[in-house]
Symmetry: C2
Subunit: 303 residues, 2 copies
């Protein structure tokens, strides 16, 4: 089995395992799958969960797509070649309970070929980041520590580098550089070099992907039965507004997908179910809400 086939089967198996773990945690809602095909080549499996006990809305999507390199790709992705291939998993979960954080992750492989269909470039990208509505420091530490442990097995510099990249990526620059949440790890354009061959990056992507369940599910289990008020829900919906702003104004993946004829419903699956936008909303000084906002404005070290 070559690297590409190995990665595809990992991604599809990961989708199955993650969906199973989330359904068990939810206890009510089940994922509904839609398979889709791209006319230009390939397709995917969109799996959506909605109106559950725990998950108000979410999706765990995989895609295996390929095609000719188009002009918008050359421009926006700054790549050059004749054909391309990509395979990845992407998920977003929006819980009902404001004490359970929203989570996003994405792990993907990309290959580029010349006219003779020889591989001329390949790289990996990925990451997982957490968007809480209330800050539980022990949850933040657990989440970051899980990914630090994975990173440390591969390279002791990875965690600090990829944690910083994450903090620098999920930024609402139009909101005083407020972050979408408390981060996690984010890496992109990781290519084989003298130190790290292709198998290294496959193994790293797999280890990160496998860390999703132990990084997130324990937090869900700890918080999913906390009682909450209408005010907590209100605040969650205000913060979800920031999530919408980041995804639609700044997220490269979302914008690239929407502007290059990607599958809109799969791309916008990331948007929260109910959202509030209020003019100049400010949390009360000294409140738990303000504490969360503050940690988004000034990212901290958690591991």
């Amino acid at each position: 089995m070559n690297i590409k086939e190995d990665w595809i089967s990992f991604i599809e198996d990961l989708q199955n395992r993650i969906c199973k773990a989330l359904e068990e945690s939810d206890g009510k809602a089940k994922f509904v799958e839609e398979q889709w095909q791209r006319t230009e080549g390939g397709g995917g499996k969109t799996r959506v969960i909605a109106k559950g006990n725990v998950f108000e809305k979410g999706g765990v999507n995989t895609s295996v797509v390929y095609g000719e390199v188009t002009e918008p790709m050359k421009k926006q992705l700054k790549i050059d070649g004749a054909k391309w291939f990509a395979c990845g998993l992407s998920l977003v979960l929006h819980p009902v309970n404001p004490f359970v954080p929203t989570v996003h992750c994405n792990y993907r492989m990309f290959e580029l070929y010349n006219e003779k269909e020889e591989v001329i470039d390949r790289w990996f990208g990925g990451g997982t980041d957490l968007t809480p509505y209330y800050l539980f420091e022990e949850d933040a530490r657990h989440f970051h520590q899980t990914y630090k442990n994975v990173c440390d097995e591969f390279d002791v510099n990875f965690y600090s580098t990829f944690k910083k990249e994450c903090d620098n990526y999920f930024v609402n620059s139009h909101r005083n550089n407020e972050r979408r949440g408390i981060g996690g790890i984010f890496y992109d354009y990781q290519r084989p070099d003298e130190k790290h061959d292709m198998q290294f990056w496959v193994d790293f992507g797999k280890a990160c992907g496998n860390a999703f369940i132990p990084s997130y599910i324990p937090i869900v289990e700890k918080r999913k039965n906390c009682s909450f008020t209408a005010e907590n829900k209100y605040w969650q919906e205000i913060r979800r507004g920031r999530y919408v702003e980041f995804n639609l104004i700044h997220d490269r993946g979302t914008l690239f997908g929407l502007k290059t004829n990607g599958r809109t419903e799969s791309i916008l699956m990331s948007l929260p179910p109910t959202v509030r936008f209020e003019y100049n909303y400010q949390p009360l000084p000294g409140s738990e809400e303000e504490k969360l906002q503050q940690v988004c404005l000034e990212p901290k070290e958690w591991a």
Copy 2:
């Protein structure tokens, strides 16, 4: 009084008149004003209404701003010069009742100067467009006819041209070119020429601005007391999601403002108060909801 001063005083008076008419129609909520200054020059009056009987959220903003022409302006607005000036009114209203349409309008004047502060270019832009959640054909006709009447007084070709520009501007290209609503008029970069001098464009902008109250308030009055169900509200919130998508993904003004250090809260005042995003939501075939969606996919002639 020169053209610039005349326009500024018109805009500020229009803001007062519109706010008064909307407060009367609402019967409960009052506009709250915030005055703001730009460090680079000028400022504005943001007037916000919220949680009213009729208007769930809205804003009627004016600004009189000026400064040096910056690199992002040269690139994104494709202008060249040393200094600029702009003055305009911009409003968005999101009603509580799903049978009352959302409305947006914007009327503005722009001037460009050389190093000696001589005017080297000036133009007008503006428009008003309606976003209903349910289609009442008589309301659509009333709204369009009001603007057609104004246009016809100035040039018999204006209405058809500016109606088409509006249909072509408020487009969610990522949603099969679905329009944000049923349109109205939209014009930009209107400069004095042999046929139309500067005063002509001032007068046209004033006439359009003055048409706002008679174009919109009668529709509000007719629909504001209609009873509605939770399902009607649900549909309104789904459609508000499309409004968010257009404003954050496609609207040139919003994106330019956010990326050039504009006042975020004034710019994002346009976003609806409560919004729903649901995976692959489809209205029932033959329903009133589908009828509305259809007219957004295929704009019609109303006047």
